[in-house]
Symmetry: C2
Subunit: 481 residues, 2 copies
Amino acid sequence: VPSTTTTLKNKLVYGFKGKQPFLVLVRIQDLTPEKADQLVWVRARIHTSRAKGKQCFLVLRHQQFNVQALVAVGDRASKQMVKFAANINKESIVDVEGVVRKVDQKIESCTQQDVELHIEKIFVISLAEPRLPLQLEDAVRPDGAGDEEGRATVNQDTRLDNRVIDLRTTTSQAVFRLQSGICHLFRDTLIKKGFVEIQTPKIISAASEGGANVFTVSYFKTSAYLAQSPQLYKQMCICADFEKVFCIGPVFRAEDSNTHRHLTEFVGLDIEMAFNYHYHEVVDQIADTMVQIFKGLRDNFTTEIETVNKQYPSEPFKFLEPTLRLEYKEGVAMLREAGIEMGDEEDLSTPNEKLLGRLVKEKYDTDFYILDKYPLAVRPFYTMPDPSNAKYSNSYDMFMRGEEILSGAQRIHDPDLLTERAIHHNIDLEKIKAYIDSFRYGAPPHAGGGIGLERVTMLYLGLHNVRQTSMFPRDPKRLTP
Amino acid sequence: VPSTTTTLKNKLVYGFKGKQPFLVLVRIQDLTPEKADQLVWVRARIHTSRAKGKQCFLVLRHQQFNVQALVAVGDRASKQMVKFAANINKESIVDVEGVVRKVDQKIESCTQQDVELHIEKIFVISLAEPRLPLQLEDAVRPDGAGDEEGRATVNQDTRLDNRVIDLRTTTSQAVFRLQSGICHLFRDTLIKKGFVEIQTPKIISAASEGGANVFTVSYFKTSAYLAQSPQLYKQMCICADFEKVFCIGPVFRAEDSNTHRHLTEFVGLDIEMAFNYHYHEVVDQIADTMVQIFKGLRDNFTTEIETVNKQYPSEPFKFLEPTLRLEYKEGVAMLREAGIEMGDEEDLSTPNEKLLGRLVKEKYDTDFYILDKYPLAVRPFYTMPDPSNAKYSNSYDMFMRGEEILSGAQRIHDPDLLTERAIHHNIDLEKIKAYIDSFRYGAPPHAGGGIGLERVTMLYLGLHNVRQTSMFPRDPKRLTP
């Protein structure tokens, strides 16, 4: 550790003259030719460092921006200072004072291509360990590129084990900024539509859907469960006259599924809405919300999408307005035409869902569609049967690039019919008494659905694993960091 | 149950002519004198019902709006229909067709005071049970009013046990619409300030602060814990260069505290931010976020505030801009002046916090202030000591009406100092290894804090129990509904 290393807590250079800080930090993205020949302070990480004779070349990075910098023996820097700079570990955070200089030839490897920084002072704000568990250059290399040229890529477990570093890559920064955008667009759209945001409890006294796949919590002298869905609470809010509600929160599934799209804890974007005439009023609102999200991402997150595409190339996400809505039996007919044998009331397998997604894309040129009127037999007990055909139901899934992102239905709001359907499904009535009782004091007809945030992010960007779009993913084998 | 009762699923009257619904429902708040003499359809609950000879007077309610309606034997209604209407249980949802009529004398008891509805058709959409566990009129009566006039009020457990009905009151509707507004204002303000929303895991592998007060979850073949705070994850995001982050999510505390302000599960509004020069940059941002919330509520939720005040009178919430910031020792001096004996490094008791709130209100005329620079001894191990006085720390609480709503601090970002402080606090280093290791690859100086949503709603409205501002509260004795 160089001896002049200093940390913020005892550094005198930071002070205030009245309300003005003693020095003003300039952001790397603002280092442009307009600032040429100005002396500026910059805070950044040492992205790379290369000493060469009496000079040390650094690349300084702040978030997705970087700039070339130079410390050279001369009037403003001593031999010791060059040595000091060259010895600062990569990923350390430094404050540097230097002069912005225009360059003759564009620096292709940096985001700030027209300038470099000639450093006169350098302070270490926070020193990184000398050995990094992964290299940022490796972590943004497209899969496959490593094999061909003998350069490394970083495997998923190494990334996740060292998430603090992996999240610093331009790709990760873009993925999670875009994900923040999805949440914002979702809520903004719904608030404009008159929805009320609700907060639902995650610790519950009874397992909602019969008790399978539920995590148990010890709760003082008794035990409780983690909510597998906010559905009951959303429905209670509808019965309490909130009319249109949404919530964003964690959803817990104790499924021992180790696939690319299952997590034991994920973020649910949930909607529930009373309707006047037909459950399609709700389907249309949900679909339009998705369309507003897709539009917002396309229009406001171009840079993020391009950044992710550099590492993980994918086709732009296509959607129609209004959204394509197919009936389940139309989907089955398309699959049969493609050679798949399946029964009318058989559920879609994951490969068939994907195939149907491709068929729909070919025929309608959309990556997003709704499959409506699922067979009653494959849906949960609370699903409203189709009044005109008892084999089907008022339920729907929504798909992005052939994978399910939302499952929803008109819910039975009549306690007697709900009881009848629960008995048909062999559900212990005692366990769902509170659920059924919620509808005994007048319940408006309503429908809703739940969207998996990580899946939406993954599929919008054309990524292939939900762990890439969960900051700190949880699965049967991973509980850390 | 009247035999003509019908439910939506088999009612023919609801259909579409092309894209237009066969009938159009008008909302109760839109029943104004401009609609006089028009025939309209309305969907509403039966709020009250009173038969009188050949007439039946109903009050129809939708959310916080209600209107008087009348079924009278004559050209458009039979004796049987009047009887049918009179027999519909309160809280049932009905569709009625009727003519809007101007009234000569204002109907003081309804929100629509200038019109009444002369009903010609009535359909029951969803029938309520004949006996309600609580009456809505009782549930909105101010405390104490019941005793004087011999009319009932509803106790808290009855309300919470029957939350679906209690949430229908004008007071509950107002409380939770305002709470939705707090979340929206919080996020909107932070997104405008350049913050990124993050999602942090709730199931964690190690108890963050030493293991006290934490719920245990069975996790496949091992066990895990419920996060007591998203702090570690927020800090990891700062170390991963997101710079300014926020999250809204459940926070779990296995404390056996049965007070007016403790819940075992509450909603945390959390902020974390890297700063350049001084942790007050962060304090100022948090305080300004609160001020934007207060302003937004004052300006956009007037009706909701008035509605709640009718049942629970309170003084309007006062705040200063910029927010008052006192040092802890100034607070102690004020308390001593008021006769309280306490040591310099002693923590504030709850009664002393309240007293200090009153003293601050008297002196500065504000219900919101920041108490800064707490004694180091009373804060957690990760709190940054004050570099100019080792007895104090760079930490702060924020108060509304004398109760704490936020606790925050500059966090130690240097792994060696963090280790030293953990040892000082007798914390098992092995248990917090992952936490300390997060800072080993370069960490910017940062600070943050967590706000309890239910407390903010309660204290802004001048309510007295956090269970009034949690839709489905969880405490050591309550896990349902």
